[in-house]
Amino acid sequence: MYVTLKLALVSTVVLMVLAAPISYFLAYTRFPGKSFVEALIYLPMALPPTVIGFYLIILMGPKGWIGSLWEKLTGGSLLFTFLGIAIASVIYSIPFAVQPMKAAFAKIDRRLLENAYILGLSKRATFLRVIIPNSFGGIAAAAILVFLHSIGAFGVLLMVGGSIPGKTKVASIAIYEAVEMMNYHTAGLIALSFIPISYAFLLLINKLSDGSRA
């Protein structure tokens, strides 16, 4: 469970930082090919996890451009490491961060932004001082969704990270292995630990969306 929670936490933090500017550009700018870029960002949501896993193996493997670059820089491999599954988890969960954040940013009254510009704020300062504080519900929902999606990831992580205890073996892989070995008691205990975490986070999402509707 430690690797699972660490992975979910790392993915959530990285995606909050990464998805905020992406969501801003998708919500506020128009550029040629925007719908293609948007569809590309949402693609991991529509693809089978094993397909994503396969392409990530190709990219992060010793002959892939990310994997070979990493090997040149560090001398090590990205596959079967915690960093490797963290990258996989970030790519796998990116639509779940971008979609609610973009919706929250787009919902902000444009007149507030105009007032901020009149008051002398740059676009960056307006993003930090007006957009972010007024999108708290959407940002929190994105963080929770990413966290939940990351703790439940299986296929992608199995393909990219394998099952190395303490390094890449996440809870969902542990359940799968326990069931394979007919160890239903262990599988049941790990499975049970997911329920209160997921339930509590879903309650929190409901509370946040109720709050933003009020």
């Binding site: 507030l112 105009e114 007032n115 510009y117 009149i118 008051l119 002398g120 704020l121 504080p133």
Partner: protein
């Protein structure tokens, strides 16, 4: 300092084509029927919209010049803009709203006292009345030491009694400000009460007969409020 503008912009149903200037310590009221282009005009002064052609200058500074391809961003124009719906930031209390871009926070306290909302500093915008939000929006605009103050139908969402009170406040505030003020309204009484100059705008163009026609059509509607002095119509170049 004087703001002078002469510009054109093509809109869906008509073209805005107007020239005017407004001097320091003077209030020019843009009046006309709703949907006649008044708000678009001051949005172009603020830099929130771009004219198709023309020129906007403030003193020696050029804010917009289509020939020289100059278009100064709203952030750099340093003006105050009181929007029709106030546009206060909902996540901040009234004081933080007003102090958002203030040059000096002490002045914000003084402005709150001047506009009699100092007891509401800690309240969020949704917790106060429309009139109080309006006063806060004025504090927000003034706290930035604007070179030009724009007010876009600031009383449109308020009841008659509150409007009357705030109208008096704006008039007394006007005497304390040294910048030019441009005020948008469709209320003839308000215009006659507040204006040093009146620029009637119909379908994006100056129409000096509009007020006379409106008053003749609706007797009593355009009667100047007691105490109002006769404003002169804008000198257009």
């Amino acid at each position: 300092m004087t703001v002078s503008a002469s510009f054109r912009k093509k809109l869906k149903y008509f073209d805005v084509d107007i020239s005017f200037e407004c001097h320091s310590k003077k209030m020019m009221v843009l009046i006309g029927p709703s949907g006649g282009g008044k708000t678009t005009i001051i949005r172009m002064l603020a830099g929130l919209e771009t004219p198709d052609e023309g020129r906007i200058c403030f003193g020696n500074d050029t804010w917009f010049d289509s020939l020289r391809r100059i278009n100064v961003k709203p952030q750099k124009r340093r003006l105050g803009y009181v929007f029709q719906d106030y546009n206060l930031f909902p996540h901040l209390n009234l004081f933080d709203n007003a102090a958002f871009a203030a040059a000096d926070k002490k002045e914000v306290h003084a402005l709150f006292e001047l506009l009699r909302i100092d007891h509401l500093k800690k309240r969020k915008p949704h917790m106060v009345s429309g009139g109080e939000r309006q006063r806060c929006a004025i504090c927000q605009a003034l706290a930035r030491h604007p070179r030009l103050l724009l007010l876009d139908e600031p009383f449109s969402a308020l009841d008659v009694v509150t409007r009357r009170g705030l109208r008096e406040e704006i008039k007394s505030l006007k005497g304390k400000l040294s910048c030019p003020i441009i005020y948008v309204t469709h209320d003839i009484n308000e215009a006659l009460f507040l204006a040093d100059e009146i620029l009637p705008v119909v379908d994006g163009k100056a129409d000096y007969g509009w007020m006379q026609r409106t008053i003749t059509r609706e007797p009593g509607e355009g009667t100047p409020t007691r105490g109002a002095r006769e404003p002169r119509l804008s000198l257009v170049y």
